[in-house]
Amino acid sequence: MLVYPQLEHPWIPNSHKAILDEMLEAIGVSSVDDLYRDIPPTILLSPEEWDSLPIGEGRPLSEAEVLARINDILSRNKYFTDPPPFVGGGVWPRYVPSVVKALITRGEFLTAYTPYQAEISQGLMQALFEYQSLVAELLEMEVVNASLYDWSSAVGEAMLMARRVTRRNRVLVPETMNPLHLETATTYAYGGGIRVEKVRVDRETGFIDLEDLESRLSQGDTAALYMEYPSSYTGVIDENVEAAGEAVHKAGGLFILGVEPVSMAILKPPGRLGADIAVGDGQPLGLGLNYGGPYLGVFAVRWDGRLVRQMPGRLIGMTVDAEGRRAFAMILQTREQHIRRAKATSNITTNEALMAIAAAVYLSLLGPQGLREVAEASWYMSHYAAKRLSELRGVEAPLLEGEFIMDFTVRLPMDAGVARRRLLEKGVLAGIPLGGFSFFSDNDMLLTVTEAHTRRHVDLLVNLLDSVLGG
């Protein structure tokens, strides 16, 4: 039995039989079937065939029934809130101000589409322009697009862009590059015919090996060097970053820098480090973790027409309207697929606009002082954690000498995967085991501590780990 009568649904206003009959009559057909008469009969599904497919529960559910299913789904997850996960990896547990979600769930933003009609979409475009402008200040890069999908695909797009700009096929990355970012970038590189090659990283410091970099660059066909700063897989702030950028520029390649945005409140931004392209994830800017997304791909370039015209993605610009008042419009669209088709800079259309607005709201709320405080609190909490952990017998923390802000590696006196499982049994989600990643050993773990963690949280982790280690 159907909950709803055969032909009515609250989300389909014209599904009422009387209305539908009236419309069919006006069209001049006797039934809906007549409107599908051009579908070859061998592939046309009868309502009976279709209704028998296992889709949903096999029948429409009432709102109350849907809510029951929703509650069931939500109740069967374990939520790590006290303490939050000690896990990063390119996205991080972070404090999210309540205002962010309140604003992005406003129906006018939530249910709008790409602002194809400028005059009626001014508020949406101003919000996106503000996102671009705020991130531009954070990175000190002049041009920021209105978002890509996530950090890793932004790296892929940056590599393809470097190939178009330099007409070269080789991209260098540090051997400690986040493996998930590397996997994605490799997928994009496969399409574009790009070769990705690893540069050695110093095992003591976690810094890129400048000698190895120079020798690879001397081969002369490098499109770009990609580095992360701080590294989302070792946590290290690479002090060779500026020298590495200079080296790749001297060799005629582009310098692509992947950044965690909050850290940029206290670190020298990519614009001042000579980056041509900066990418990263906007997830720390008020988005929450949400088990994989949506996140936000940050993509910025400096003021150079050669770079700007090869940028992927959407750009909003400031202009005036017919009355001379300030107005906003989508700009440089001749780069985009709906105009350039096969010659476009990318196939991206739907981006992460709503997440970009969330990031704009977050950056507006935090401001220069607040963002600095978040970065500093992360620095303090993670250093506190490293210090406490280093006091445990057999634990080396941090493992690498390079300075860090919130992620750092530790070496445990036991298998890191086993330690993680034992901690999980005690209700704590610890870091990422680094075994299988040739740079590290099976006992190494990437731990993450941000401003979302308190001293009590860290003490709990340390005490539980101590007991896991048999201390």
Binding site: L2, P97, G123, I237, L289, N290, E323, T350
Partner: protein
């Protein structure tokens, strides 16, 4: 008369007053600070001056973005009949799941055992999409339809590579009515794009297709129904031709809403298909995203027992019968790989999960049917009206959308499709997609979806007729539209000129300081 909000809203940066703040983030306690000592960073890499971000209070932020939202327009405000975008109503019960605050704390590296609820929902969506599309296996990994397309193109590439004839198969065929994403995706995969024309009957020109298909064909990408809103009547013949030539068929699911419940890409012999959860499955568009573009495949053999399913991008969610657990399976040996770091735009998938549950198969079919009835009802209302024509097989029923041409109107009055669009905005109605597909001059691509009322469809048609009459009475009128929206017609030349193009406030400031030249 309809009027949109028109606040003289400054940029958030212009509202800044030194010392104001909009949030108090958590701070480390004294004991931590004492234990760790003063903050130190490598001297060469410390920022020094803070970033030039606005200093505003929380209430100012709330009011500012609330006002900006009032100067935006979505389905909650009124009809958005953007062709091919499928802007249907976004039922809020689904938001109860997608926006539950607990999900904000779920890390994508949590152990599978701790996220069984979410994994089950993702798994079920994969399964339901498999049946909806008539395919054998699905992944919800891609972040948008365009990523689904890229996945498809890369699978086509890997398929031919594994069979050892990639060097010969360099061409992907695309109808000239296709979305721009199709050729762009093919190009990202390193393929050459060959376009085939559309015949007067609205179908792909079969003679041209036969001439294009050959030993160099890697695959064909097609939308069915097409962007003209027409079902491709020769689809089975097209599949046969491409398959016989050794190519694969890719289904662009952007227009699935028009045939859902009536026909499936799998039954049309497609090998790979993507769907857009933010279209057919009612996930809100968010001003341009997040989207979600699951991709599904048939279990077509590539070589030695490896099938297209093994080539799918990932990770995917699988169900382990022995363990009774849902598991995240990372991309395997033959997979084209990851298209993003993590599993999916999870919140979008959860929204679609709730939507499909509420609709059931009957509701999904009904949505498709009513969207088709709405389109054809609208066509009847517009039939033979002065100023507009219906190109390509006017007597054939349209599916989810219809493309009208304002060419007669332009010829007589000078008013363009863009003018028509602006005239609609003035009535509180969002404009159609204009100037697309490229094969229709002065194109107006209209898609009401099943969400629009009969009354609004009638109002839309009436306004279109009124626009034509007003243009006929005084050809200078359309140029003055829109007047009731937040801004008057924007200056696109200034927006794009190398001397005035302003993509960020930083550019504006540096330019005023004389530190930035034209964009060269």
């Amino acid at each position: 008369m309809w009027r949109q909000s028109r606040w003289n809203e400054p940029l958030i940066t212009e509202m800044s007053r030194r010392g104001r703040r909009g949030a108090l983030p958590p701070r480390p306690d004294e004991k931590v600070v004492k234990e760790v000592g003063p903050l130190k960073l490598p001297q060469s890499l410390a920022r020094g001056s803070p970033p030039s971000l606005p200093e505003v209070s929380e209430v100012e932020v709330v009011r500012h973005y609330t006002r900006l939202s009032q100067m935006a327009y979505g389905v909650d405000n009124g009809p958005v009949p953007l062709g091919s975008c499928t802007m249907k109503y976004n039922p809020r019960v689904a938001a109860r799941l997608a926006f539950d605050p607990r999900l904000e704390t779920l890390h994508p590296l949590q152990d599978d055992e701790t996220v069984q609820g979410v994994l089950e929902a993702i798994y079920m969506v994969q399964e339901w999409l498999r049946h909806i599309t008539g395919m054998d296996a699905c992944t919800v990994h891609p972040a948008a339809g365009s990523q689904g397309e890229l996945a498809g193109v890369l699978m086509i590439k890997r398929f031919h590579e594994m069979r050892g004839d990639l060097d010969k198969r360099r061409v992907i065929i695309v109808p000239d009515s296709a979305h721009g994403t199709n050729p762009a995706s093919a190009a990202m995969g390193g393929f050459q794009v060959v376009e085939v024309p559309t015949g007067d009957d609205g179908n792909v020109d079969m003679e041209a297709l036969k001439a294009a298909v050959g030993g160099d064909t890697a695959g064909l990408m097609i939308t069915n129904p097409s962007t003209l809103g027409l079902f491709e009547e020769n689809i089975l013949e097209i599949s046969r031709l491409v398959h016989e030539a050794g190519g694969l068929l890719y289904y662009d699911g952007a227009n699935l809403n028009g045939i859902i419940g009536r026909a499936r890409p799998g039954d049309m012999e497609f090998d790979i298909a993507h769907v857009n959860l933010h279209k057919t499955f009612s996930v809100p568009h968010g001003g341009g995203g997040p989207g979600s573009g699951p991709v599904c495949v048939k279990r077509v053999e590539v070589v030695d027992g490896v099938t297209l399913e093994d080539l799918l991008p990932g990770p995917r969610v699988v169900y382990s019968r022995e363990e009774g657990l849902y598991r995240v399976r990372p991309p395997g040996r033959w997979s084209v790989g990851r298209l993003r770091a993590w599993i999916a735009n999870t919140l979008a998938v959860l929204w679609a999960y709730a939507y499909i549950l509420a609709m059931g198969p009957q509701g999904l079919r009904l949505a498709g049917e009513v969207s088709v009835v709405n389109t054809n009802y609208f066509i009847r209302l517009m039939e033979g009206h002065w100023g507009y024509s219906l190109p390509y097989a006017p007597s054939r029923p349209r599916k989810h959308e219809v493309v009208l041409s304002a060419k007669p109107l332009k010829r007589e009055t000078g008013a363009t499709a863009e003018d028509v669009a602006k005239g609609l905005l003035d009535a509180g109605l969002y404009a159609p997609t204009i100037y697309f597909p490229l094969i229709v001059e002065e194109a107006l691509m209209i898609e009401f979806t099943e969400s629009e009322t009969k009354e609004n469809i009638e109002a839309y048609a009436a306004r279109l007729k009124e626009i034509a009459e007003e243009a006929r009475r005084d050809p200078s009128t359309p140029r003055k539209w829109p007047r009731n929206t937040t801004s008057a017609r924007v200056d696109n030349v200034r927006a794009n000129h190398p001397r005035t193009v302003t993509p960020t406030w930083r550019v504006e400031v540096l330019r005023r300081q004389g530190k930035l030249g034209p964009l060269r």
